[in-house]
Symmetry: C2
Subunit: 230 residues, 2 copies
DNA sequence: GTCTATAACGAGATAGAC
DNA sequence: GTCTATCTCGTTATAGAC
């Protein structure tokens, strides 16, 4: 009986994975806007109504793909960070950023899903937030570590941004100076600007040696946040 | 005879504009991936084959929309820049950046068309390049002006990036120090990272006072390029 | 020459009866 | 779960109005 349940559970996991794999293939071929439960079912030799036992709607399938993508890049970044956990803040920062870029280049369609245009008619539910935050939390952790080690020189902050900065510290950047929280959020967004421009073709005829350029750019981002140059 | 030609030409311009307007409406509603010539024709009370007199293919219609979007944001930025042409480099930089952000917030779907995920199966032709470059040329011009006025402090540049930097100067940043060219390209990409994150919802529960945050962030971008703080 | 309309193609999606 | 009848799409050929 427990064997039966185990087998059933295993089958369910396998079918769920097969559905997501096929959906990812269609994501690459047609884009998120055209993702259709029917087409996924057809490709898997199932009937469309059978899919609803695994995903209650197309949007739920999309949400699962989005969470998977965030978790995939998040884990890639965490692994890269763990490998240089003993190094200085700047080295750890660069490792995380390069891991994110590497993941994006290897998974362009999943990157487009989470950092490209919104899918018309789809709104991401709150359940995506924890996965979406993983890379950002890594960057915050690096800054916090540098701060505690006295290796962080606080950037300047205009007076009118103080309330916003205090709120950021309170909400998600506890233990950091307010000016660093603001600089960190900006650097976080700017990092994805660099990656998106490379991935979406904006660097054509503009940047040739993209790896070198990126390494230099994220290093400057780190310096802007206040990470010491060691 | 010239009257007839004038009327024909005028009608052609009007119909072309109506097609693009309707296509833009569909862009907003369904996304670029689902833009359909037939739907545009139907909405305009035309027959689909008639559209081919104005656009030889669906991709050509898309290209026209992309060029229009680039020109729209480019002109907005140029007008904003002209209004502060006498101000210092930092003020001009901020004006251009804020104009781009304002345009993006006012035209989110057109922004997504040019800076969001690539449209599956579509490759932008070279004809989009001049329009796409307008904002970047504005930023280059500001840096050049600052440099000539002695108001630009050169950022640092690692030795291994020198060849790339020299190439950039040669290709599109003539008259600028190589280190500035590299910093400028990075800042240009990072600017769009800030705008995309705001527009695509990544700043939810992260940045509240977005206008203030943005102003501060682009100011820091300018300082990173080397523009003097006046 | 310039335009629009009709009809058709091959491919694919979709709704509903069974 | 299957099948079919009816939609959609981009695109082309053709014929006729202005």
């Amino acid at each position: 009986m427990s064997t039966t349940q185990g087998a059933r559970a295993r089958a369910r996991i396998e079918v769920t994975a097969a559905i997501k794999d096929e959906a990812r293939r269609q994501l690459a071929a047609e884009g998120a806007a055209k993702l259709s439960l029917r087409a996924v079912a057809r490709e898997l030799g199932m009937v469309s109504s059978a899919l609803y036992r695994y995903f209650p709607s197309r949007d739920d399938l999309l949400t699962a793909l989005i969470i998977d993508a965030y978790d995939s890049v998040g884990e890639t970044a965490e692994v890269a960070h763990a490998k240089v956990a003993d190094a200085g803040p700047l080295r750890r920062w660069t490792s995380v950023c390069e891991a994110v870029r590497g993941w994006a280049l290897a998974h362009p369609h999943e990157y487009a899903l989470i950092h490209g245009s919104p899918v018309p008619g789809y709104v991401a539910p709150e359940t995506t937030v924890p996965s979406a935050a993983r890379v950002a939390l890594l960057l915050i952790g690096i800054a916090r570590g540098a701060h505690q080690a006295g290796m962080l020189t606080e950037p300047s902050l205009p007076a009118d941004l103080h309330p916003e900065a205090e709120r950021m510290v309170e909400d998600f950047a506890g233990g950091l100076p307010p000016a660093v929280a603001v600089a960190l959020v900006a650097a976080w967004a700017e990092l994805y600007g660099l990656i998106s421009f490379e991935l979406f073709g904006q660097f054509r005829r503009v940047v040739e040696d993209r790896e070198l350029f990126f390494r230099h750019a994220v290093r400057r981002l780190a310096l802007g946040v206040g990470l010491a140059d060691v």
